[in-house]
């Protein structure tokens, strides 16, 4: 039983970790976009 819980947790953790990575990339892009918009306008 515990293995099932561990496996389930691992699946969620890995997916969340990847989504977190993607989120950081989005934030980085947004920051750069806004910086460029800032220096243009």
């Amino acid at each position: 039983m515990i293995y099932l819980c561990v496996a389930f947790s691992c699946v969620w953790l890995i997916n969340l970790f990847y989504l977190f990575t993607l989120d950081r990339q989005v934030r980085d892009l947004r920051r750069r976009l806004e910086a460029r918009a800032g220096e243009r306008g």
């Binding site: 099932l4 561990v6 496996a7 699946v11 890995i14 993607l22 990339q25 892009l29």
Partner: protein, 209 residues
Amino acid sequence: MRLTLMFLSVALLLLSSWIGLTAGRIEPECRNIIYMHVPSSIAALVCFCVLLAASVGYLATSRVSWDRVAAAAAEVGLIFATLLNVTGSIFSRAEWNVWWTPSPRLVTAAVLWFLYVVYAILRISLGGDRGLRARVCAVFGIIAFFDVPMVIISARFMPDIHRAGFSFDSAWQTAAFLPALASMLLLAAVLIWLKADLLAARDMLEKEI
């Protein structure tokens, strides 16, 4: 659109878990890991097919959008291959009390993971010329795709540790399995789409600078 699809994927996974833990429960409880393990293996293989298609597409047309899809598919495939190996390892520990053993399926899973990792290494280390990097990675994607059936065949040479194919006993179990499969495939598609768009946005940003 992507957000809805992601929520749909989570909902499908919850549905599958619900059915899987009630009506479709497999008896020694830990075997229910199968509901997450097999879909992620199918998703990892599907990502590899997408990688192959994108690699061929890039080599045929030289359009960067294919290269971006290939990079996205490789990254998402790496995630699913990691999931595959982790759940497989936990499953083998639960069933046979070993974390890993050179059995055909496990070796195939490990090789798949390694191929994805090597693709990532190629992507990272060939920094400079975008076109060259895309070409090298595309060629590797195609060659690596030939590797997978080869591994499956060569794995037949290894001792067959009690790994018979299984089938689902009752309709409820299939009902628990299919949403999980749909969920993983949907998640893979959404993630590849998202990542490819991210890469496109980054390319657009860097081009204008």
